[in-house]
C-alpha cells in the first residue's frame, strides 16, 4: 500500500482548491462559511452543515433525491454549486416542521403512506411543497408531471399522489 504519512486529522479537513466565503440562509438561519468554489450545494448542506436529510441518489441530475428549495423553487442540489446559492435562501426537509407542527405535506405523506424506504422522501416533499405553493389544487396528472423529476423506487407513485392531494386538502386547496 503506497501511502504518504497519515497526518493527525481534524474535522472539516481542507479539500484543496480555491475557496470563498458564502452567505446562505438555510431554513431561515443565516450561515457565512468558507467553501471551495467547486463545493456542491448538497455537500455543503450534508457535510458542512450536517443536515443529512437531503440525499444523493444519482449524481447526474436525474433522480431528485437532493431536491431543496432555492429561493422557493425546487432544484437539484447535486447540480448546484454552493457558490451559486451565495446570498440566497435554501429550504430543506429539516425546515418543513415549524414550531413542533408538521407541514401539511409531511402529514400527507404519513397519512397516505407516501413513503417506504424514505430515501426519496425529503426531495419528493420539497417538490410537493413548491407545487402546492404554485398550484394549491393540482389534478393527479398535474401532480405526476410536477414530481417527474423525482424518482421513487418503492411506492409506484400512487400513494405519493394521494399524499400530495391530502396535503392540498389540508391546506384548503382541494374541494
Amino acid at each position: 500500500m503506497a501511502s504518504t504519512a497519515i497526518p493527525r486529522l481534524t474535522a472539516g479537513a481542507p479539500m484543496g482548491g480555491p475557496t470563498r466565503m458564502v452567505h446562505i440562509t438555510v431554513n431561515d438561519v443565516p450561515f457565512a462559511i468558507e467553501v471551495q468554489d467547486r463545493t456542491l450545494l448538497v455537500h455543503f448542506l450534508r457535510d458542512t452543515l450536517g443536515m443529512t436529510g437531503t440525499h444523493i441518489g444519482c449524481d447526474t441530475t436525474h433522480c431528485g433525491a437532493c431536491t431543496v428549495l432555492l429561493d422557493d423553487r425546487p432544484v437539484k442540489s447535486c447540480t448546484v454549486l454552493a457558490v451559486q446559492a451565495d446570498g440566497r435562501k435554501v429550504r430543506t426537509v429539516e425546515g418543513l416542521e415549524s414550531g413542533g407542527k408538521l407541514h401539511p405535506v409531511q402529514e400527507g405523506f404519513t397519512a397516505e403512506h407516501g413513503l417506504q424506504c424514505g430515501f426519496c422522501t425529503p426531495g419528493m416533499m420539497m417538490t410537493s411543497v413548491a407545487l402546492l405553493a404554485k398550484n394549491p389544487n393540482p389534478t393527479e396528472d398535474e401532480i405526476r408531471h410536477a414530481i417527474s423529476g423525482n424518482l421513487c423506487r418503492c411506492t409506484g407513485y400512487m400513494n405519493i399522489v394521494k399524499a400530495i392531494q391530502h396535503a392540498a386538502k389540508a391546506s384548503g386547496g382541494a374541494k
Partner: protein, 291 residues
C-alpha cells in the same frame, strides 16, 4: 461524483464577464444554470479551469414583447418561460418545448440562453428558434452583433459564438394573426433527450394559405437541423393532411440520425415523419387554419 477544481467568478456586468473570458481564453466557460455543464464536469468529461457565472448579472432575465420582437433575456429560467402568459398564449411552440426540457426541477435552474447556445443537438429550444426565425444577440469585446439562429449551429458543441462572446438576448419575430407553432418531442421517459423532436412554425394569410413555414429537428444529427424542403413544400398552399404527410416525409429525409440506444436510424426518421405531420396539424389549428 465530484467536479474537478476551478476558479469561480460571478461578474456583475456582461462586459466584466467578457473581460474574464478574454483574459482566460480557452480555460474559462460561462456558467448559466449549469444543468448541462455541471453534470459533464462531475463526470470529469469537461474540466474548465474557470467558471464565469452570468446568472447574477442584472437585467439578463426578462420576457418582453415590443412592437417588432419578442425579446427573451439569456438568463431567463426555462420555467419562467413556461409560466409566462405571453409565451403560453402567443408562442405556444416555446411553451411546448419548455415543458419538455429535461424535468421540472432542472427547468428551475436551466436557462433559455444555456439551452440555445450549449450546442448539444439534444437541446430542445434551438429547433424552435430555427423554425420561428429567431436571432441571437451576442456581445463580445467589439460590442454587440446579432446572428440568425439558422447560422448559429456549426457542429456538436460548436456554434458561431466566438470564445469571448456571450449570448445576451434571443429575439423572436413578434407573433401575428395567422401564426401558429408547435413542438413535439418523443422521449424515452421524462428527463431524456429527444428520440426525435420537431418544431414547426406556420404563418397563414387571411385565406388560410401558408405564407411562410419553418421546420426544424432536434437530436437527429450532429446539430439541430433545418428541414427546408419540408417547410417550403407548404408555402403557397392551403394545406391538407396529404400535404402534411408529404412534408413529414421531406422532413424525415432531412434528418441525419445515428442508430443508438434511442433506436435505429430508420425508426428515428419515421418518428420525424410522424411528429412533423402531427405538429403541422397542431400548428395549423393554432394558426386558425381550418380544413
Amino acid at each position: 461524483m465530484i467536479p474537478p477544481k476551478f476558479d469561480y467568478h460571478a461578474p456583475g456586468t456582461v462586459d466584466e464577464a467578457i473581460g474574464l473570458l478574454q483574459k482566460n481564453a480557452g480555460d474559462a466557460k460561462v456558467l448559466a444554470g449549469g444543468q448541462s455543464l455541471l453534470p459533464l464536469m462531475k463526470l470529469r468529461l469537461a474540466e474548465p479551469k474557470m467558471l464565469i457565472d452570468i446568472s447574477r448579472i442584472a437585467k439578463l432575465s426578462y420576457i418582453q414583447e415590443d412592437p417588432e420582437l419578442l425579446r427573451v433575456g439569456a438568463a431567463t429560467k426555462i420555467n419562467d418561460l413556461n409560466d409566462s402568459q405571453v409565451i403560453r398564449s402567443r408562442y405556444p411552440m416555446l411553451a411546448d418545448a419548455g415543458a419538455h426540457i429535461a424535468d421540472p426541477l432542472v427547468r428551475n435552474m436551466g436557462t433559455v440562453g444555456g439551452n440555445v447556445c450549449h450546442g448539444d443537438p439534444g437541446n430542445d429550444l434551438p429547433a424552435c428558434m430555427l423554425a420561428i426565425g429567431a436571432r441571437y444577440v451576442v456581445r463580445g469585446p467589439k460590442g454587440d452583433r446579432t446572428i440568425a439562429a439558422k447560422e448559429f449551429y456549426r457542429d456538436t458543441f460548436v456554434t458561431a459564438l466566438d470564445p469571448a462572446e456571450i449570448l445576451t438576448e434571443v429575439q423572436i419575430p413578434k407573433a401575428q394573426n395567422g401564426d401558429g407553432g408547435a413542438y413535439m418531442k418523443m422521449e424515452r421517459k421524462v428527463g431524456d433527450f429527444a428520440i426525435a423532436a420537431v418544431a414547426v412554425h406556420l404563418r397563414l394569410d387571411s385565406k388560410g394559405t401558408v405564407t411562410s413555414a419553418g421546420i426544424a429537428l432536434t437530436n437527429v444529427g450532429p446539430t439541430v437541423l433545418m428541414a427546408g424542403k419540408a417547410a417550403s413544400s407548404l408555402v403557397g398552399h392551403k394545406p391538407t393532411d396529404a400535404d402534411f404527410l408529404a412534408a413529414g416525409k421531406l422532413a424525415a429525409e432531412a434528418a441525419q440520425p445515428a442508430s443508438d440506444m434511442r433506436g435505429p436510424a430508420e425508426f428515428k426518421k419515421g418518428i420525424v415523419q410522424t411528429l412533423t405531420r402531427r405538429a403541422l396539424h397542431l400548428a395549423w389549428g393554432r394558426a386558425g387554419g381550418k380544413s
